[in-house]
Amino acid sequence: MNARLLVRKLIDAIVLMAMVLVFNFFLFRVVDRDPLARFRGRSKLSQEQRAAIIKRFGLDGSKWEQFVRYISRTVRGDFGRSFDSTRPVSSEILDSLPNTLLLVGVSTVLTVAIGIWIGIRAGWRRGSAFDRVTTPLSMALYGTPEFFLGMLFLAFLGAKLGWFPTGGVLDPAAHNTGFANIADRARHLVLPAATLTLGYLGSYSLVMRTSMLDTLREDYLTTARAKGLRDRDVMRRHAVPNALLPSVSLIAIGFGFIVGGAITTETVFSYPGLGLATYRAIGNNDLPMMQALFMISSIAVIGFNILADLVLTFLDPRIRVGT
């Protein structure tokens, strides 16, 4: 790949990350004038206690001093302390990060793979029975808030039929080890992952279908057919690779929605990840926690977008040579 292009993309990425850093400070220290106004039990604090807390949470000094301190601490991975537990925010986050990575990772792979597969089939045979069933279904899924889907799963498959556990990541009563432990975790993952996967499946399959329909008009497909290629080969070798290109960047933007969807999904299933931490931070007005969670989700989404951008550059020769 073109080295100059790579450098330019990396500089773009660094600029975006820096913007997130500044924007985050702006939100929490400028839009919100008195961060301590939401600290629990503030009315009982004496003047000295107040000053001590302000210092402890790094809220003293002028805005500029705060900004410099905020940047230097954040870059070192120090996000301050949670208003709620008063533990360092970074350890709270490290505790719940693995659960979220598992849930979001599994759901993203499933929703992208299944969504694209449905979109390709529906678009290639527009008006077929497959298309007539999946397209309205995709639209209905697109219109369903993922947490409502999760509530239905919890109520019917969890509570009523008892097929799956209704919350958590592990059965706290059973002290499983080895394979039993993994199986228990998997059982707890099924409903949240199914919720998040189905919740965002609709947008991917609809985008892919549209992209497929656009490709169908292209002259090179006529050429491929005129060459006498079989229908499957025209689809696999000529239509699909071209139709995939525009959806790569949409997949990346969609990842931002999945990250948002993880918040409500984890809330429904009391799944102890970053999403449930976000829900708790809202309830407790825990601003330091919220600030770190927002920063992490922004950086994750931006990182994913940059990755998609690089993949696209690699796949699409028109971008690679810069035309």
């Binding site: 975006l16 527009r126 969890g158 601003l287």
Partner: protein, 294 residues
Amino acid sequence: MSSAAWTRRRASARRVWRQLRSDRTALVGLILLALFVTMALTAPLFAERTELQAAAGRNNPDLAAPSGKFWLGTDDIGRDVFALVMWGARVSLYIGLLATVVAVVIGSVLGLIAGYSRGWISRLMLAIDDFFLVLPFIPLAIVLALLLGRSPTVLALVIGGTFWAGGSRLIRAQVLSLRERGYVERATALGASNRHIIVRHVVPGVAPLIIANATLIVPGAILAESTLAFLGLGDRFSPSWGKVLEGAQASGALTLNAWWYYLPPGLCIIGLVLAFTLIGNALERIFDPRLVGR
């Protein structure tokens, strides 16, 4: 503006309306939308506003199944779920529509500036747009709602303020292409001011796109509102459908099998979102003939 131009515009609006009615999916959307608007308008005929307050359910049974008295049963504090759902239509529609207006105004103005300006202003606008396009919407909206407040109007401003980037991108692209058209060049050659070109040529050119885009922003705004309300960022005294779902989730209605509490508000959200999606897709097809046949 000359009356001839207005006659022409009225005629084209009538044509769009006719095409919309003859489109089967759009017709389904229009009927659904009419249903929800009727719900929102007639809510006071079925239930007093005071029935939404916590005290209203004091003398009613909690989580009672649907009956002649309570058509959709009661919630965990004895409030009539039917009243909650009817009034919820108002809150959800109000926030969805106001948020869309905010997003469309911001997106259109920034898109016009980004498309029409040149040099560093154009580059700066593009950078801002890029930034808001990649920021995850829901976390950003959560942070803003947490910091700014939870009343329906503030929520609408928050959602609108985070939802404009995609529209602004579309409008910028359209303006860029309009700027190169012959009639704009002709106006420039005849000495027309920027103001004249924008008002007379560019704005009418992007208007259909703005309308179709707005109809597609509404479903996103309604979903965003229900998400924020579900996470506890809604107004307790004017509950939207998302807020009712939060109550159902928190009160354990799911494990108690109280389906009348969570099914109606959830199905209403799906219906309203589908209504706007169907209408928006049809408008896009009407305004953009290249899309015919999808």
